[in-house]
C-alpha cells in the first residue's frame, strides 16, 4: 500500500485540481435539494408563479454547472489514473526484468504476468473510481450533515449516531476482504499457469490425446478460482445491505422522533421533508462509498502483490572491492575453488578451479546433469557461488556492475529465447548493430543461407518462441545474435546440438577464423565440438574429473576417452 501511495503523490496537485472542480460541482448539485426546500417552504407561500419559475430556472442552472464540472473532473481523474498506472506498470515491468533467476522461479512467470496486467488494472480502476466517487460521496455526506445540522441539529444527531455502526461494519468487512482477494489473485495465477503451459505444450497434449486430462487439470483450477471468488463476493456483498439497513433505520428514527418535535413546535413538517431529502441523498452516497470499500479490498490485495515485487530486494547487487578483492593476475577467467548448490542440500558444483588466459578457449563436456550449464550460470552471475571466487579480467564477478559484466559476453543458452519479430530484429536484439554486421554474423553462424531463402530474407517474421523455424535454424539465429556484437567471450551452451555434423564443422571453422580475439566457451555433448579447445573440462556430478587438451585427456581421463571413442564412431574408424 505505502509504496503505491508514494506513486500517487506526484499527482496530488492534479488530483487536488480535479478535487476542487469536483467539490464545486458537488456543492452546486447540493443546492438543488436546498432550492427544493426553499420553494416548498417559502416560495410557494408567496403565491407568485414567476418566483417559482425563477427558482426553478436557478435549479436548472445549478444542474448544468454540476454537469460541466463533473465531466471536467472525471476527465482529469481519468488522466491521473492513466499516468499513475502507466508509471506503476513501467516500474513493475522494469523491476520484473531485473529479478534474479531464483526470484523469478519463486514468483513464477504466470504470477508475475498477472501482476503486470490484472493487478495493475485493479489499482488503475480503483484510482479512477476513487477520484470519481470517492470525492463526491464524502462531500455529499459531509455537506449533507452540515446542512442538516443547521436545519435541525437534534434530528441530525440521530443520523450521525448511525455512522459509527456503518464505519465499524465497513472496517470489519473490508479487513476480511483483503486476504480473500489475495487468495483470489493467487488462484488466478494458478489458472494462468495452466493456460500458459498448455498453450506451450499443445503438441504434446495433442500427441498424447491428453485433452480430457488437461480439461480436468484446468477444471481444478477453475473450480478453485470460482470458490475463492464466491467466498470473497459473498463476504463483500454483505456491506451494501447492512449499510442500507442502518441508513434506513436512521430515516425511520427521524420520522418517529420528528412527530414529537413537530408537536412541541421544535420543528416544522417542511423541515422534516427537506431533512428526509438530504438523508436520502446521504444514504445514497454512503451506498456509493460501500462500493468503493468493496473495490478497495480488492485493490489493496492487488497493490500488495505489486509491492511485493517492487520491494523485493535486488539480488546479486554489486559488492565492494574491499570485500571481494581482485586476483591481480592477467587472466580472463578464473574459477577458484567454486562450490554451489541450488537447493542448499546437494552440491551441484564442488570445488571447481580453472584459469583461462587471453587467446585460449574452454570446452566443457560431461554427462547430462553434471553441472555444465550451472558453471556457465555462475560465470554469468545468474547465481552467486556458495564457496570460492570467480574472476573476470582479474575482478571478482561480484564487484562488476551488471551492464559491464554482460557487455563482455555473447551467449547462447539452452532453450534460448526468440520472439515475435523479424529475424533482423531478433539478431539485433535492440542493440546498436548495423544491418551489415548482422549479415556478417549470420554468415559466420551459417544462418545466412537459410535466411536468404526466405522471400523476405532478414525481414522474415518469426512467431513467438520462433516456432516457425526448425530447431537447427533457431540455434543458428541465436548464435548470430551472440556473435553480432563481437563479444570478448562467446558462450555456446549446447547450442549446436540440432545442427548436422557438416553445418556444425563449418560453424566451428568460421568461428575460429573470424572471431580470433574472442574467448570461446563451448559446452557440448560432442567431443568434436570441444576438441580444438585449449582447455577441456570433463565434469561428472559437479566435479572436474579431467582437464587438459584433447590429447592430454585421451591419455589421462578414462571417461573422456570413452566419450570420444563412442562418438568417433569407433567401429568404422578402427
Amino acid at each position: 500500500m505505502k509504496t503505491l501511495l508514494k506513486y500517487l503523490k506526484p499527482y496530488f496537485p492534479r488530483m487536488s485540481g480535479g478535487l476542487i472542480i469536483k467539490i464545486a460541482g458537488t456543492v452546486v448539485e447540493l443546492f438543488i435539494p436546498y432550492i427544493l426546500t426553499h420553494i416548498l417552504e417559502t416560495v410557494i407561500l408567496t403565491q407568485k408563479v414567476s418566483s417559482i419559475i425563477f427558482w426553478g430556472v436557478l435549479m436548472v442552472l445549478c444542474a448544468a454547472a454540476a454537469c460541466v464540472f463533473n465531466i471536467i473532473a472525471n476527465r482529469m481523474a481519468a488522466s491521473v489514473s492513466r499516468d499513475f498506472s502507466e508509471k506503476v506498470r513501467h516500474d513493475l515491468f522494469a523491476k520484473t526484468l531485473r529479478l534474479s533467476a531464483a526470484q523469478t522461479d519463486k514468483f513464477t512467470i504466470a504470477s508475475l504476468e498477472s501482476r503486470i496486467t490484472t493487478d495493475t488494472y485493479n489499482i488503475h480502476h480503483f484510482v479512477g473510481m476513487m477520484q470519481r466517487m470517492g470525492v463526491r460521496a464524502p462531500i455529499i455526506l459531509i455537506g449533507g450533515i452540515i446542512i442538516t445540522l443547521i436545519m435541525d441539529s437534534y434530528l441530525s444527531m440521530v443520523m450521525i449516531a448511525t455512522m459509527p455502526l456503518l464505519f465499524i461494519t465497513v472496517y470489519l468487512v473490508s479487513r476480511n476482504g483483503i486476504p480473500l482477494y489475495k487468495k483470489v489473485q493467487q488462484s488466478v495465477d494458478k489458472m494462468i499457469r495452466v493456460v500458459r503451459e498448455d498453450a506451450q505444450g499443445i503438441r504434446v497434449i495433442k500427441a498424447l490425446s491428453k485433452d480430457k486430462y488437461e480439461h480436468k487439470r484446468y477444471n481444478e483450477v477453475n473450480v478453485g478460482l470460482v470458490k475463492d471468488e464466491k467466498r470473497a463476493g459473498i463476504i463483500m456483498g454483505s456491506v451494501h445491505p447492512i449499510m442500507n439497513l442502518f441508513m434506513n433505520m436512521g430515516i425511520v428514527a427521524v420520522v418517529a422522533l420528528s412527530a414529537a418535535r413537530v408537536t412541541n413546535r421544535l420543528s416544522t413538517p417542511e423541515t422534516v421533508i427537506a431533512f428526509m431529502q438530504y438523508f436520502t441523498q446521504i444514504s445514497m452516497s454512503m451506498m456509493a462509498m460501500s462500493r468503493i470499500f468493496t473495490m478497495a479490498s480488492k485493490s489493496i490485495a492487488s497493490a500488495n502483490r505489486i509491492e511485493e515485487i517492487l520491494l523485493s530486494e535486488d539480488e546479486l547487487i554489486e559488492q565492494s572491492i574491499e570485500d571481494y578483492p581482485q586476483n591481480n593476475r592477467g587472466n580472463i577467467i578464473e574459477f577458484r575453488n567454486v562450490s554451489f548448490s541450488y537447493n542448499g542440500k546437494k552440491e551441484d558444483l564442488s570445488n571447481i578451479s580453472f584459469i583461462i588466459n587471453p587467446g585460449e578457449s574452454l570446452g566443457i563436456i560431461g554427462a547430462t546433469g553434471s553441472g555444465k550449464s550451472t558453471l556457465i550460470k555462475l560465470l554469468l552471475r545468474l547465481y552467486d557461488v556458495d564457496k570460492g571466487e570467480i574472476f573476470l579480467n582479474g575482478r571478482n564477478v561480484r564487484t562488476i556492475n551488471r551492464s559491464e559484466l554482460y557487455s563482455n559476453f555473447g551467449s547462447v543458452m539452452q532453450n534460448d529465447f526468440l520472439y515475435n519479430d523479424t529475424i533482423m530484429e531478433n539478431i539485433k536484439f535492440g542493440r546498436d548493430i548495423s544491418d551489415d554486421e548482422v549479415v556478417e554474423a549470420a554468415k559466420i553462424a551459417q544462418a545466412h543461407g537459410f535466411i536468404s531463402d526466405f522471400s523476405d530474407g532478414y525481414e522474415h517474421v518469426l512467431s513467438q518462441h520462433g516456432t516457425n523455424i526448425s530447431g537447427g535454424q533457431k540455434q543458428r539465429v541465436l548464435i548470430s545474435r551472440a556473435i553480432a556484437a563481437k563479444p570478448r567471450i562467446l558462450i555456446l551452451d549446447d547450442s549446436s546440438s540440432a545442427l548436422d555434423y557438416k553445418t556444425e564443422s563449418a560453424l566451428r571453422n568460421a568461428l575460429n577464423e573470424n572471431l580470433t580475439d574472442t574467448v570461446l566457451i563451448n559446452v557440448a555433448q560432442r567431443v568434436s565440438a570441444v576438441k580444438g579447445c585449449s582447455l577441456i573440462l570433463v565434469l561428472d556430478e559437479g566435479k572436474i574429473i579431467g582437464s587438459g587438451t584433447h590429447e592430454e585427456l585421451l591419455q589421462s581421463c578414462k571417461e573422456y576417452k570413452e566419450i570420444s571413442d563412442s562418438q568417433m564412431g569407433g567401429a568404422i574408424v578402427e
Binding site: N70, T117, G237, V255, T368, Y406, M413, F429, A498, Q525
Partner: protein, 599 residues
Amino acid sequence: MSKKNKEITKEKFHIGTLFRLFSYVLKSWPLFIVAVVMTLTSNQLALLGPKYSGVAIDAIANPDGVDFALVYKNVIYMIICYATSAVLSYVLAVIMINISQKVVYRMRKQLFEKLTTLPVGFFDTTATGDIISRISYDIDTVNSSLSHDLVQVMTSLYAVIGSLIFMWKISKPMIIVFVITVPISILFTRYRSKKVRPMFRERSKKLGELNGYAEEMLSGCRTIQVYNREKEIGSRFDARNNDAMNAFYKAEYYASAMGPSVNFINNLSISLVMILGGILYMYSASGMVKAGSMFFITLGGVAQFVQYSRKFAGPINEFANILHEFQSAFSAAERVFRIIDEPSEKPDKLNAVTLENTVGDVRFNDVFFGYTQDKTILHGVSLNAASGKTIAIVGPTGAGKTTIINLLMRFYDVNSGTITLDGLPIYDIKREDLRKAYTMVLQDTWLFHGTVAENIAYGKEGATLDEVKAVAKAAKIHNYIEHLPDGYNTVLSDDGINISKGQKQLITIARAMLSDAPMLILDEATSNVDSRTEIQIQEALSKLMENRTCFVIAHRLSTIKNADLIIVLQNGKISEQGNHEALMKCGGFYSKLYNSQFD
C-alpha cells in the same frame, strides 16, 4: 482470422453479444428467476418505505395536531419493509454471485476446452499472453459486470417502473415532465454509446497485446538480462503500455461524460417537476383546484412526488454510469467469443474408423504440403514405412523433417497426396485414435507444473509409482530424481531453471516408455543428452523401438545407422533412400554427412 470475418464480427456487434451473454445467464434460469422475483420483492419493499414515510409525514403535518398513532403505525411498517428488504437484497447478492460465477466458470471452461481443439497453428500465430488476457482479464470484466450490473439493471428497471406507478397515483399531470425528458436521456445515451463502443474494443485489444508482449518477454527474461537489454525491452514495453493506457483513457474520456449528462437531464426533470408541482400546490392550497381533481395535490404529495422522481431518476443515472462498464464487458465478451468461434481442427468424418490392432504400416503417397499457401515445403514425398521397421529421416535443417512428423500426427493436413496407416487414409481414422497410435518424444521438451512422478505418468493413465520408477531407471534419470529435495514428489515446472534440457529430455523419454502405442516418433529426442548417457539408455530405447514402427529424426548418426530405412530429405524432396550400407555405397548426401563427423 481473415479481414472479411472480422468485419462480420464487428457488424454483429452488441445485440448478438448481448443475447449470447444472456444465454449463459439463462442456463442458470431457476436461480435467475428466483433472483428476478427477489429483486422485485426487495424493491417493492424499498419503494414502500417512502410511501409509509409520506403517510407518516402527512400525519405529522396534520393541521389538527400530530396523529401519533398513525405515525407510529407507519414507522413500524417502515421498519418491517426496510429490514426485509435488506435481508432479501443480501440473499439476492449471494444468488447473483452464484449466477455470475456459474457463467464465468462455464465461459472459462468453454474457452479452455475450445483451445485444446484448435489446430496447433493457432498457437504458433497467437501470442500466449493474449490468450491469457482473454481467459483472465476479459472474462473477469464480464464477471464484475454481471455480478454488479445485472442486479443493478434489474433493480433500476423495477425502481423506474415502480416509481412511475407511484408518481402516476400521486399526480398524473406532473408525469408529463418525464414524457419529455426520458426520451432525451435514451437518445442521448444511445448516441454516446455507439460512439464509445469502438474505443472499448480497442481497450481490450490493446491490453491483450500488452499482455502478449509481457508474457513473451518474461519468458525470455534471463536472456534479456544476459544481453543487458532490460532498458531497451523496457522501453518497447513502455510503448505498448502507453498505447494501452491511452486506449483506456480515450474510452474513459468519452464515457465519463455520460453520467453527468444524464444526471443533468434528471436534475432538469426534477426542477421542472418542482416548478409544476409548486404551481399545482399553490392552486390546490388556494382552493382554485378542488380536492378530487386530477390537478389537486397536497404538500405531502409534492414531497412524495419529488422523492419518487429522485428514485426514478437515480437508477437511470446509475444506469448511465454503469453503461461504460457494460461496454467494456461487451468488448471483453466479444474477444472471448471470438476464440470460441475459431474453427477447430476439422472434425472426424462421420464414418471415421476406430483403430484396432494397429499393425503400423505407414505410407506417404506423393504428398505436397506447405504451412502457408505461398510456400510449399514438401514436394511429392512418397515413402513406405513397413510395420515394425525403423525409418530414419535425415537431411539439412529446414528440409522438412519435422513437417513429416506434423503430417503423420495430423497437426496439419496435406495439400495433396495421401498418407495411409494400415492401408486406411489417415483422414478416415478418428483423430484421437490416430494420435494415440503414436508415442512421441520431441525436440522441444515440455513439462507441466506437477511432480516428477506426475510428469512421467503423463504418458499413461493410472501408471503406478513402481512403473514410473522403472522407466525412470531405464531412462537413466532415476538417480537425478532421487537426489531432488522431494524425490519423485518434487514439483517441476517448464520454466524451472535448475533442470537442464538434457534432463528434461530424459524425463520425456521415460514418459514415452510408459506408453504402449504401436508406433513411435523420436524427433531429436536425445539431442541434449550426452553421448555416454545416450549409450546407457540405448538398450532401453531399443526395447522401446522393438516391434514398433519408428520414425527417427536425429543428427547423431549412431542412432540412424541401424535404421531399416534411411530417407534423405533435401529441399522437401526425397533424394536418397535405402539402408546405411546402400546409402554409403551410392556416395551421395548421406555418405558425405556421415563422413563429416570424422573431420
